[in-house]
């Protein structure tokens, strides 16, 4: 950006910043007071009329507040703890939303985040190269980064200008970006110039970019007049051009000014001056070779002195004007101060004209700065109410901490970047907070991150900033990252990679676990299990397994229709961990049982069912339902495909399986506390609730088992339910051998039971058919 810079922000901008950063200390001491008032913001929809606070309190009301977990959002509400408070008014049930800046937050939030990301890219690159290759010159690295920051601020300003809708605060933000650009240019000029190079041109470049003078409009007005040299502002324009180092422009003005037409001596003087202007050696042409620049400059200056001595024009006014031009070119301090309007202009002019060969380092700039603002020599002062100007002054005065402190008031992110650059080139003293053992750079990076995290959807930028501060920064990342409500696997993977980089195992576990819960709620059971597995949450995989198991048993078909889970369970060897396959085995076996049943493979189905009944860790509450499931496989008459009638089935269990299951079945029966008591079905719910009061676990398991069985056989059956609903017990259309239908229809009961049966009667029926199957097998001698 080449124009539009100004040293004079609007007063509104100053007022705003005073409020924003009222808490900042003088960085020299980090504890000095800042005497600024805090502006009061009225919350939108404020309910208390002006002057009515006393009445509000008399009504025994007060205000409550809570903060958003990480955004800069607060909620306030009206409440009371008194029993005798004034009657409630409907409006008092409102909640008031606000943020710390009230209406002083611009609309260009996206641009702020983009700026942060652009700066972060430079910061990361700088940190990487600085740490990765000690051979690289930090000065070169810092210069490259600084250029990147300047481009980022330039771009941010342009992005705001291109917005369709902006408010005053956005304009103030854009102004801040321009000021930040100016400060970075100052830093570049004073501290980041290549070694063995005069800083004169760099300083002049900073001043000209920040505050371009003389303006093009002035030039046009003067040079388009009939006799430009007669224009009352002609020579001021020339002098301004000289102290701004715009020698080419000045030369062209002189050549087309009409001076050459006055008389021969004036024409010669004009030619001489133009020659001197065009032949002046500039530091820009001697980068890294200050010695050669010095010798060239000395020769040029000798010639300049000679010419000024021999100057003699007929017109005394013209003579005086030419002499003043030579004085300026010679770097006469008085002449510089006479024509300079700001200390920056004077400083740059002194560097360019007074001591261009001696101005090679920050200490030399400081010496010139001291001259420029020396009240004995000039009347130029630093306007300390303008933070960016004060920051530049501090940079020129070699006071890094003070510069950073002032930049905080311009842009907190910029201050962090500035502190980082200054630290890299070893300019910033090791100012440490005694309290937190943090350097100024670290403190500012943390605060910049704190500010960013308050913006919507800026968490990535904030955590990347914090990442640059060991311990404190990573702690912040660990605290806030798990609070981000991730909406995609990509975001989660990004966060997990960050956790991995920063060794934040606990945060990673938290993120994975919560993400797993979210996936589970969305019925992505396989990916949920994977997330739990990565988080080492065996208990949650176990819980997922038994939840699916329970729903499956209740509804008589696999509860999960997640194709990924179905595919994974088909090939357990390919699961990413052994624990995952072990923990999901019960559900996998039950699913396999139903699949075999559906594909009319009764022997395979029976094998799976037997495996489940024999499973030592099977929660007993599922035993009753598994036993009921065995009915069709024990040869009990069952319904075929829905509506196809009742038919008798063959015993599908092998004899050995039946004997093996007996032990498990008897173990389950042994937990029945008192069958007659349990038959008091209406008391079951109460008893279930009584568990918390210390009921015996076995008795409770029995009761739970009975309750599940009852749920399975009594729930109304409908074909309208959605196929993936996990809570619709008994909605299977696929069950080819539905004992539930038979129980429900009373068909399986023969004449033992009435149609309206109970879980206990179902179990008795199972025992009966089990005994028949065993007896039949025993008699036939079939031990298959």
């Amino acid at each position: 950006m080449s124009s539009g810079f100004s040293f004079a922000p609007t007063k509104a901008a100053i007022a705003t910043r005073d409020n924003d950063y009222a808490s900042l200390d003088d960085a020299d001491t980090l504890n000095a007071e800042t005497d600024t008032a805090v502006k009061e913001i009225v919350i939108e929809g404020a309910p208390i009329a002006h002057g009515a606070v006393a009445g509000f309190l008399q009504g025994k009301r007060h205000v409550g507040v809570i903060s958003h977990p990480y955004l800069d959002n607060q909620l306030a509400f009206i409440t009371s703890t008194a029993k005798d408070h004034a009657p409630f008014v409907r409006d008092e049930a409102r909640v008031f939303r606000f943020h710390s800046k009230g209406d002083e937050r611009g609309l260009a939030v996206e641009e702020q985040v983009d700026l942060a990301n652009d700066c972060l890219a430079c910061l990361d690159e700088l940190a990487f190269r600085y740490n990765d290759d000690p051979e690289l010159d930090p000065l070169d690295l810092a210069r490259t980064a600084c250029e990147g920051y300047r481009e980022a601020y330039d771009l941010a300003g342009r992005r705001i200008a291109e917005r369709e809708e902006i408010i005053e605060q956005d304009e103030l933000d854009a102004l801040s970006y321009r000021e930040m650009h100016g400060v970075l240019s100052c830093l570049d000029a004073v501290y980041l110039a290549p070694r063995e190079t005069s800083l004169s041109d760099a300083l002049m470049d900073w001043v000209n970019r920040s505050d371009p003078r003389p303006t093009a409009e002035e030039g046009e007005e003067i040079m388009l007049s009939r006799q430009p040299y007669l224009h009352p502002s002609f020579w001021d324009y020339v002098y301004k051009g000289i102290i701004r180092g715009l020698f080419d422009m000045v030369r062209k003005c002189l050549e087309s000014s009409g001076l050459a037409q006055i008389d021969m001596p004036t024409a010669q003087a004009t030619r001489d001056l133009c020659l001197m202007l065009s032949s002046c050696p500039r530091a820009n042409s001697y980068v890294g070779n200050v010695g050669q620049f010095s010798s060239q400059y000395k020769r040029w200056r000798q010639k300049l002195v000679q010419l000024s001595k021999t100057l003699s024009l007929p017109d005394s006014d013209n003579d005086l004007c030419f002499r003043q031009a030579y004085e300026l070119l010679r770097g006469d301090r008085e002449a510089v101060f006479r024509h300079a309007e700001t200390w920056q202009e004077a400083l740059a002019a002194l560097a360019l004209l007074f001591d261009p060969t001696g101005c090679k380092a920050a200490k030399d700039v400081r010496a010139l700065y001291d001259i420029a603002v020396n009240p004995e020599e000039s009347e130029l002062n630093v306007d300390t109410t303008l933070a960016s100007e004060a920051a530049c002054a501090a940079l020129c005065a070699a006071n890094g901490p003070n510069a950073v402190k002032n930049v905080v008031q311009v842009d907190e992110l910029g201050a962090a970047m500035l502190a980082d650059l200054l630290e890299k080139v070893e300019v910033l003293e090791d100012v440490r907070s005694a309290d937190l053992e943090l350097s100024l750079r670290e403190l500012l990076l943390l605060r910049a991150g704190d500010k960013l995290i308050g913006l919507p959807a800026a968490w990535k930028s904030a955590v990347l900033l914090w990442k640059h501060v060991p311990v404190h920064g990573t702690d912040r990342v660990a605290l806030t990252l798990p609070r981000v409500a991730f909406s995609s696997q990509e975001e989660v993977d990004y966060a997990l990679a960050l956790c991995d980089t920063l060794d934040m195992d606990d945060a990673a576990i938290q993120i994975e676990t919560v993400w797993g819960r979210k996936l589970e709620a969305q019925h992505h059971h396989y990916r949920a299990a994977l997330a739990y597995d990565r988080a080492d949450q065996a208990a949650m995989i176990d819980q997922l397994n038994w939840t699916l198991f329970s729903h499956t048993l209740l509804q008589g078909r696999p509860a999960s229709v997640d194709p990924e889970l179905v595919a994974a369970l088909d090939s357990p060897a390919e699961l990413p961990s052994a624990s995952l396959s072990v923990l999901l085995a019960p559900y996998a076996t039950l699913s396999a049982y139903y699949r075999c049943k559906d594909s009319e493979e009764p022997r395979e189905a029976a094998r799976h069912l037997a495996a489940l009944m024999k499973f030592p860790d099977l929660p007993k509450r599922y035993m009753a339902l598994l036993l009921a499931e065995s009915l069709p496989l024990l040869g009990a008459p069952v319904s075929g495909a829905l509506g196809s009638g009742i038919h008798a089935a063959k015993v599908a269990f092998g004899h050995r399986d039946l004997f093996d299951c007996l032990a498990a079945i008897e173990d389950f029966y042994s937990t029945a506390p008192d069958l007659s008591a349990a038959l008091q079905t209406q008391a079951m719910d109460t008893e279930l609730r009584a568990r918390a009061d210390g009921e015996d676990d076995d008795k409770f398991a029995w009761m739970e088992a009975m309750a599940l069985l009852r749920k399975a056989i009594t729930k109304p059956r409908t074909s309208q339910s959605t196929p993936d609903s996990m809570d619709d017990a008994g909605t299977s259309l696929a069950s080819k051998c539905s004992w539930r239908d038979c129980i429900y229809q009373g068909a399986v009961s023969h004449d033992l039971f009435v149609q309206k049966t109970s879980p206990e009667k179902v179990l008795q029926l199972v025992r009966l058919w089990l005994a028949r199957a065993l007896a039949r097998g025993f008699i036939s001698g079939d031990d298959s």
Binding site: N19, I43, S67, D72, Q74, A76, V95, S100, P456
Partner: protein, 357 residues
């Protein structure tokens, strides 16, 4: 996003509200004995796709559920950490703490909340409650008007109907008389690096209780105040070697204490505890060899900017911004300066400005 007030629809005063862990949901409780859960449409700086029809604009609150949850005004509400599911607990003047869990539901459908537990140990209205930090398991602390701090734990996080009362500790010498104004509040120490600790605002003092290695809750320092302690909040520890605890007090002061912990062991006979700090471990019987934590407290900020009673204190997730609400009908935001000094950076008023007419 819009910043207009949100009408919660409660039939009586809102007594408390709480953001969920992500700040995407808010639960409100009220003297009308109900809880209401609102979903907040996420704010994004940029939208990559045009909002589909019916999608609420960013920041919009949508009522997700509302149900009667107590037999008397509900005083406080708290969300559990999301690892355990969508769980809220509320404290009521009916002397109960109730735990509710949200059932799985299809997106777009009204959510269903099921009462999982009703804890009825308190002998007075329950003033405050809070879930423990995630690393401490599924625990819940409550403090009631009977002056007792109760710590419950769901030993099986998958079974929310079973809460075990792990400890009940009297936090005042005598239960406040019925006609006396009572004030109790609590906050868990969020740090995973120290033993579980709860700061309890008990009438006109804040008391710290720390669980020792044997599981017993031991009293720690007492932080005296100039009036009833209205609220207490522990700041998240971010890289600090110390903790920050903020209190709101009836005497109009916002106080911030700097707390440092150190493990101590039973003293040898003749040893005396260090007495240079505010109040030290005042458990004077070390009857077993378990180590426990001693807290050192320093008052680092004491501001009476509200000029009137202060009711609430609230830290953000990084502990860098403290919000306080007072009887001046203003909310003040406080930040730590570069030098560590806590200063007011913003004042937000619920009082309308003077009319220009």
């Amino acid at each position: 996003m819009a910043w207009t007030p949100v009408n919660t629809g409660h039939e009586d005063l809102v007594t408390d509200l709480a953001y969920d862990y992500y700040g995407q949901r808010v639960v409100t409780c009220s003297a009308d004995r109900t809880l209401r859960v609102f979903d907040i449409a996420p704010s994004s700086t940029r939208s990559t796709e045009p909002a589909s029809e019916g999608t609420p604009s960013p920041g919009t609150w949508t009522l997700s559920a509302s149900w009667k949850c107590a037999d008397a005004p509900v005083l406080r509400v708290s969300w559990a950490f999301p690892e355990h599911g969508q769980i809220v607990a509320c404290a009521s003047a009916d002397r109960t703490v109730r735990v509710f869990e949200e059932q799985d539901h299809e997106p777009g459908c009204a959510s269903r909340w099921v009462e999982r537990a009703k804890l009825t140990d308190a002998r007075g209205g329950v003033h405050d409650l809070a879930f423990a930090p995630a690393h401490a398991g599924l625990r819940l602390a409550s403090v009631a008007g009977d002056g007792v701090l109760r710590v419950y734990e769901a030993l099986e996080p998958s079974n929310l109907s079973r809460w075990t009362l792990m400890e009940d500790v009297g936090v005042v010498e005598k239960r406040p008389l019925r006609e006396t104004e009572a004030s109790f509040c609590l906050s868990w120490c969020p740090s995973r690096f120290c033993r579980p600790t709860i700061a309890v605002g008990a009438m006109d003092a804040v008391k710290l209780y720390t669980q020792d290695s044997a599981g017993k809750w031991r009293p720690g320092p007492i932080l005296p105040h100039g009036g009833l302690v209205r609220d207490v909040e522990w700041a998240p520890a971010v890289g600090r070697t110390y903790h920050l605890l903020a209190t709101a007090c009836k005497d109009g002061h916002v106080r911030v204490f700097k707390l440092k912990e150190q493990d101590s062991h039973p003293p040898e006979s003749g040893d005396h505890a260090d007495d240079t700090h505010t109040t030290l471990d005042n458990d004077d019987h070390h009857d077993h060899a378990d180590s426990h934590t001693t807290w050192h407290a320093d008052l680092i900020a004491d501001h009476d900017d509200h000029g009137a009673q202060v009711w609430r204190v609230s830290f953000n997730a990084t502990g860098t911004v403290l919000s306080t609400a007072g009887d001046d009908a203003k909310v003040r935001l406080w930040k730590s300066s570069l030098g560590g000094e806590i200063r007011c950076v913003s004042v937000c008023s619920l009082q309308q400005p003077r009319s220009r007419d």
